[in-house]
């Protein structure tokens, strides 16, 4: 799992580097464009992802204490938070269209869409991974001594949260 997580983080490191280079080439554009984005949507999604990380950390903690049903409840909450994140992202994209923001508006918005959509894909993968961990919990595949699969799924979800913690100020606040 760690090889997978680290390779995903390397992929985002590459995107961050591209963003930085373009930002240094267009400082004026990158200082004004973030104000045009829907910061409330970005903030809501940040709060949701942080809360979902809390849910999944509690799921692992409950599983370690052999509280299977409690752990499954936390995992279900994680999936719900992930789906809410996707719903907010969808509404944000609709809001962008209404305000004339598209991938072709300028290079900042092209990069914003590329990074945010790429992150959204990772959230969708994360929902599937957590869903798989929930199914395995329900089937009784985990016990307090054998939690590798659940811990791996949780690590992947936290990685998604870590990347978003960088993306939020980068895209919506500082630019």
């Amino acid at each position: 799992m760690w090889v997978f997580v680290l390779s995903e983080m390397s992929e985002f490191a590459f995107f961050f580097t591209v963003f930085l280079v373009v930002k240094l080439l267009h400082p004026e554009l990158f200082s004004t464009a973030p104000a045009q984005l829907n910061t409330k949507a970005g903030l809501a999604n940040t709060l949701l992802l942080i809360t979902s990380s809390w849910f999944v950390a509690n799921a692992v903690r409950a599983a370690r204490s052999a509280k299977r049903k409690k752990s499954m409840g936390w995992l279900a909450l994680t999936i719900t938070a992930g789906l809410l994140y996707c719903a907010i992202k969808y509404l944000e994209y609709l809001w962008n269209v209404e305000h004339g923001i598209s991938t072709r508006t300028n290079i900042f918005f092209a990069l914003y869409y590329y990074l945010a959509f790429n992150h959204l894909l990772h959230v969708l993968i994360g929902i599937c991974v957590i869903g798989w961990a929930l199914l395995q919990s329900w089937l009784g595949s985990y016990d307090s001594e054998n939690l590798g699969g659940l811990e791996g799924a949780a690590t992947y979800w936290h990685m998604i949260d870590l990347v978003w913690i960088l993306l939020f100020p980068m895209l919506y606040i500082v630019g």
Partner: protein, 87 residues
């Protein structure tokens, strides 16, 4: 209430939410200067470290793995937020 604060994960969640709200409040009160970009960068590093240490439970992990993740957050938050504000 005691039950809520006894779990360290709850405390970390509360800190993370507070730091996020603080990050979002900065541009509304202040035009973005190098100092505020640096402040946001510090908030990002603190949040990243809390997630890595307490949520990912990396305290007991190999130090190379733990510090690689922390370094990732430090490097990119400085590179993405502070360097462009200086140049």
């Amino acid at each position: 209430m005691n039950n809520l604060t006894r779990n360290p994960l709850n405390r970390v969640w509360f800190i993370l939410i507070s730091l996020t709200l603080l990050t979002a409040a900065i541009p509304e009160n202040d035009s973005l200067t190098t100092a505020s970009a640096a402040f946001i960068s510090v908030l990002v590093i603190i949040k990243g470290r809390l997630i890595i240490r307490d949520y990912m439970d990396m305290k007991k992990a190999h130090p190379i793995l733990y510090w690689s993740l922390v370094l990732y957050m430090v490097l990119f938050s400085i590179a993405m937020l502070v360097i462009p504000a200086i140049t």
